[in-house]
Structure formats: structure tokens, C-alpha cells
Amino acid sequence: MSQWLTLRNGEPARLDRLPLLSMSELVAEVVARCEEGERPVAFFGVAEGDLGRGGEAERGGSEPGGGSERAREGILLVVALADDRASLLSLASAHLPRSGRGSSYPALTSYVPAFHHFERELHEEFGVEPSGHPWLKPVRYPVGARAKGELPERYPFFIATGEGVHEVGVGPVHAGVIEPGHFRFMCRGETVDHLEIQLGYQHRGVESLFREGRFAEKAPLAESIAGDSAIAHTTAYLACVEALAGFAASPWAGRTRTIALELERIALHLGTLSALAGDVAYLTGSALFGGVRTLVINTTLAVCGSRFGRGWLRPGGDRYAIDGDLSLRIEEALATVEHRTRRGAEVMFNSPSVLSRFQGTGRVDRSIAAQIGMVGLAARASDLPRDVRRDHPIPGAQAEVPEVVTLESGDVYARAYLRFLEIGRSIALIRASLARLIEQPEPLRGTGPRGVGPLAPDSIVLSLVEGHRGEIVHAALTDSAGRCARYKIKDPSFNNWFALALAVRGEGISDFPLCNKSFDLSYAGHDL
């Protein structure tokens, strides 16, 4: 076994420390490490020209088909595996040509199913072929793929045939106010035998946009990766840019950012509880949780002017401080939130009509969850105790480590009830962080993004943040001029959409909206 580069969450390193293996070595070692309990958190290509290697290739997006010269250029494949027990990330890399000899390799998915979506993404972006991959289909239709004729209308859905089998297609536009995606069901009567989820409708080219302009000024863009996770994605971005600029986040910033992140978690969990109640026609719950959510987001607005926390966190000094008055206001709001949420949950989770819809619906058992690489809340509801806040805390940037709670049933009930439990724990985290803020207040560093110095050249950093859905991963690589050469984003939805597809097997199709909402995944976060 080779020596991989071992880093902690948010720790940068020079690229020359990243071991370069042959592809066959890489495959063998990844499989061996995953058998020992590690799991993939990053697996992506970087066009070699973007790193300033392989000649005078033009700087541009990592899009295939962007010119014949770029199409011949090879890629550097970067792999990062997480060891949750040791709180370590292990990285290695390999060269791959995009086409011709050496551009195909034995698919990791055949050994470690958790790689399935990563390999599809790599294939779509660069054309390399993970041979033996069972499901090599489009992921998000980037511009280069569309230019080669890969279009959503041509997606090759899995079709079942036989007596009484029928096909139901839903989307991209949906009946409610919701992001677009397509769901293709193969049913017999009401029962779903198979669901295939086709995404990509929300692809905006976010990763490429991170490489344009000044990298330190990308917070507004980070806030828009998935607008309902503005704080979480921005926190991941901040960890990358501050690490590369050698700008250590103060413990004070860590406390403020913890408060912001947990307020976001509470708000989104309440929103999901409200929507789940609505999905089973439990209007009292829908109204109550929706109203309590307003209280939380108006508190966020009181601090930073935005209900979603936009405009708040910035590299080199967050824009808004929590002083004594705001601290009191947050405390008061949390007291009301806690009281009303508990009362509402007590009634809702004891209502027979709600329980009959929630319990046993949309089950994902633990072994499937582990195999496919689930993360976040949905994983914890299937008894998989994964939480970045505990497993990969960023030193100095996180005030408190939460207690990680899991439930075993892996059904809609578990995913709903766990949100209620997490709201309680997030409230406790905020209170602890507020108490410390008052104890040791520090002034805001007022430099802002303009004051953030140049980025370390030829470097790599990964940051992991536990958003309300789960594990967000941002990876940044710089070139020899200290510019961002590659920005890779993994939203927790990237891991978990497949879990929804498995969860509805054998369920009635009319339970699909409920199952979908119980996962509450991001389309924009997946599509980028």
C-alpha cells in the first residue's frame, strides 16, 4: 500500500505532496481502504491544463469538447476517502487520458457501490470510462455534454415490461412550488417496482463560475449553490479560501458561524416538518411548523438582513456580529421555538392518521444506506451515525460538538422524528455558543474579502460541513499563479438521491411525494 496524503478537514497541502499512483494501484488501494471502513468524500477530475501542466493549454472550464486540444488533454483524478473514526481524510491521485488507451479502468462501483454516482459524474465530465459500471448514465448535462448531443429528452430510462406494467413520468415541472427534476416510475397497479430519478435541469455551471474573478469574493455565489443551505455551503467555501490564504478563522468566528449554521438547520427542519404534515393533510402541523419557521428565519434576518443568512459570512471577517441585544433576541426566539415545536410534535407524532402514513413508509435499511454511501439526516434515520460536526470538526472553527442521534426504522417516520430531535439539539448548540460569545467577545475583523491575501499556489484543500441535509464537501485546487484551478462541490443530495429511488420500491405511488419530502433533497445542490 502506498502512502496517501493524510489531512484534516480544512487543512491545505501542497499538491506535490499528493501521491500519484497508477490507475490500477489506485483502484486496488481504494478498494482495500474501503474494506477497512473508509468511504469516498471526493472523486473528481482536473484538466491537466488547468493546473498549468501539459503545455500551454488555455485556461477554461473542465468541459469536454471545448476544443480539440483540450479534448486530448489528460486529467488528474483526485480521490479523497474519509476515516470517520480517526477524523482524517486520505488523498491520492492518478493520471488518466480522456480517450484512447488508458482512458478506461475497472469501475470502482463494482467493488464499492458508494462510488456509483461519482463515476457517472467523472464519465460525463471527461469521457473516461469506468468499465463494468452498471449504470453509466448522464448526471447533470453540462454544456460540453449537451454540445455532443446528450440531452435530457434522450435519457435512457430503465423500462420494465409485462402484464399490467405501466410507466408514470413526473416532471420536470411539478405541481407544487419546487425545483425541477424528472421521476420515471415503473408500476404494477399502484405499486412502484422501480423509480429512476433524472436530474440536471438545474445545472447552472456553478463550479466554473468559482474560477472566474477573485476567488476570495465568491461568497454570494456560494450562497446560491443551494439557496436553502446558504450558510452551510458558504461555511465550506470559507474554510477553503481562508485555508489557502493562510487566514485562520478565530474561535469567535467559529461560534458565530456555528450559530448561523444551526439556525439554518432548525429553519429547514421546521420547513420540512411543515411540508410533511401538509403531505398527509395534517393541516395543524403544516400551519404550526410553518409559522415557527418564520420566527427562526426572522431571527436570522435580525442579525444579517436576510432570512436565509445571505450577506452574513465572508472571508476575512463576517459582516454582522451578534451583540448582547441580538443574543437576547435569539434566546427569546429559541424559547418560543422550542416550546411550540415540542407541543406541535407531541400532538402530531401521536396522531394515528399521521403515524399510519409515516410509519413503515419508504424504508431504507442500514446495510443499503452504508453500501450506497448515504450521508446526513437520512443516513442517521437509517441507523448510520454519520455527522461531520462530530467526525470531522474543523479545529477552531466550530464551537461545540453535538450529540449524534440515530433512529433505526429508516422510514418516513424516522426521517421526520429525527428532524424534531435535531431541532432540540441545535437549540442547545446555539445556547452554548451564545454563552461563550458573551464570555469572550471579540471584535469583528473588518478587512472583508478585499483584505484576504493571495492564495497559496499549487495547493489543495478539502472542507466538509454538516448542512441540514448532510455532508457538504468543497475541494479547491490552485495553480502555480495562485488562481483557483478547480472547484469541486459535493452536496449531500449527490449521495442521497439514489436512496429515495430505493425507498419507494414496493410502496404505493401516491406515497411518493411523502417519501420525496422526507428526504428533502436539493436539485440545485446536485445539479450545480
Binding site: 420536470p172 445545472h203 454570494p220 450562497e223 410553518g290 409559522g291 400532538v347
Partner: protein, 268 residues
């Protein structure tokens, strides 16, 4: 049942009594007021703006591009740009969204929303909306959905979000329009029977926002279909939405009958 009654009583009155006069929190970044008398042409505001919403000489901010991030205000050493919490910033024409140094809150509001009699006649008491998310990051979608909740309750004005374009009077677009959604957006709008309206919700819908320059975006839909109501914001606040809708449907600031033309002219 008694549990449910107790819960209702616990919640108390949830609806905002008059959304047209409600204020948003102090730190909310709404209408910016501009004063370039001290401007030293440092252009730091232009450099700080992530969407190119600012132009100088004379100083202007295009609310259709603005994401209200406030970076320009932080960057300016002279305080030439100051965001107020005036959330009533909807407009019925694209030009009205451009704010200059002469713009006051009252002046903006009196000029930005122009009611059309036929809209009032057709939709004044009942407007059904179909939402099409075409690349929205979910910020706009959440605020659009929030406007139907117990606090904002646009249902009380006869405004509802419906499940099918066939049931709708208007399409509310959010997102910059990704290439992958261009056809679906066109089909959804075509499926709405005439007479119909088009509402652009958020910076991305109005101008492409942060994604305006991206090759993954296809905004040709807007070249074919004029927009009837613009809602600036990233995302727009539900109260901005309500003010804009009622202004469009009922007249200035949704305050009932539209002011006569002579009065409008004397105010602006």
C-alpha cells in the same frame, strides 16, 4: 381534538394583519439610496458587485441585477450607497428597476408600479399562479411558497398557487432559465390559457443574476414573452411579492383604487 384546539390557541394569531403596511426588520437590505456627491471614482463598488449591477458617472444600481448582498455598501469609503429596509421595490417595467442618485423611496414607489385597467378587471379579485422553477437555487422557491403560509397568506387576496398551468392566470418564473429547462418553461407558459401574465421572481429570473454569463443558461424565453411584474431580490421577500402583486392588480401600493393619472404625474 382538544389537543388540536390547544395547539391552535397556543399559536395565536399568525397572520400579518396588513401586509401592505408591515415593515421588514431593520437590517433587511431593500431599496438602496445613492449619494455620489462624495464619490472619488475609486470604483470599489463596481469591483465588489458580483453581478455588475452598478454603473458609475452617474451612480446607478440596477435592482434587476442586484442580489442585495450589500458588498458595495461595505466597500465604499464614502458611504455613497446605503441600503434601506424599504422592501416595496416591485416594478412593472424593467427601466423602473434602475435606481439613481435622485431616487427617493416615495418617488420609486409611486413610479415603479403601474396598474393596467384590464389586469384589475380580469384578475383583481382572483389570480391563480403557476410556479415554474427554471434553475432557481431554492431560495426564491421557498419565499414564493412562504407567501402562502399562515403569516403572509396571499390566499386572503384571492391569490393562489395552482397545480397546473391549465388552471392558472399567470406563470411565476424563478431561476435564470437553465438550458435544460428552456423547453419546459416555454411549454408550461404556452399551456396557460389567455389572458395570462408573466411574473419574474428574483434577480435570476429578471436578469440571470449571478448566472447571467453562464453558458448553461438560455434566456431566449424572455425575448419572446414580455414580463408583467418584476420582483427584485435574492430572494425577494414575501412582503415584496405581496406589495408587487396587489400593486399590479389594484393600483399603486395596492391601496385600493389606482390613483388618477393626474395625481400620479404630480407625485413623480
Amino acid at each position: 381534538m382538544f389537543d388540536l384546539i390547544r395547539l391552535r390557541r397556543l399559536q395565536g394569531r399568525q397572520y400579518i394583519p396588513n401586509p401592505l403596511t408591515a415593515a421588514v426588520g431593520e437590517r433587511f437590505r431593500g431599496l438602496p439610496l445613492l449619494d455620489d456627491s462624495g464619490c472619488g471614482d475609486c470604483a470599489l463598488c463596481l469591483a465588489a458587485c458580483p453581478t455588475g449591477a452598478i454603473s458609475s458617472a452617474p451612480l446607478k444600481v440596477d435592482l434587476g441585477r442586484c442580489t442585495f448582498c450589500g458588498e458595495c455598501a461595505h466597500a465604499c469609503p464614502q458611504g455613497s450607497i446605503r441600503f434601506t429596509n424599504e422592501h416595496r421595490i416591485a416594478a412593472t417595467s424593467r427601466e423602473r428597476l434602475v435606481v439613481g442618485t435622485q431616487t427617493t423611496a416615495e418617488g420609486y414607489r409611486s413610479a415603479a408600479l403601474e396598474a393596467r385597467t384590464e389586469i384589475r378587471r380580469l384578475f383583481g379579485r382572483s389570480l391563480k399562479l403557476r410556479s415554474v422553477s427554471a434553475g432557481g437555487c431554492n431560495g426564491c422557491e421557498m419565499e414564493l411558497a412562504a407567501s402562502t403560509n399562515v403569516n403572509f397568506d396571499i390566499g386572503r387576496f384571492g391569490i393562489e398557487i395552482v397545480a397546473s398551468p391549465r388552471h392558472a392566470d399567470a406563470v411565476v418564473v424563478s431561476g435564470p432559465v437553465t438550458a435544460s429547462m428552456a423547453a419546459a418553461l416555454e411549454e408550461s407558459f404556452a399551456a396557460v390559457p389567455e389572458p395570462k401574465l408573466l411574473i419574474a421572481f428574483g434577480a435570476c429570473a429578471i436578469s440571470g443574476g449571478l448566472f447571467a454569463g453562464s453558458p448553461a443558461v438560455d434566456r431566449s424565453f424572455f425575448a419572446r414573452h414580455p414580463i408583467d411584474l418584476y420582483l427584485p431580490g435574492c430572494p425577494p421577500h414575501p412582503l415584496t411579492f405581496i406589495d408587487g402583486l396587489l400593486g399590479l392588480l389594484r393600483g399603486k401600493a395596492g391601496a385600493g383604487d389606482p390613483a388618477p393619472a393626474a395625481e400620479r404625474a404630480s407625485r413623480s
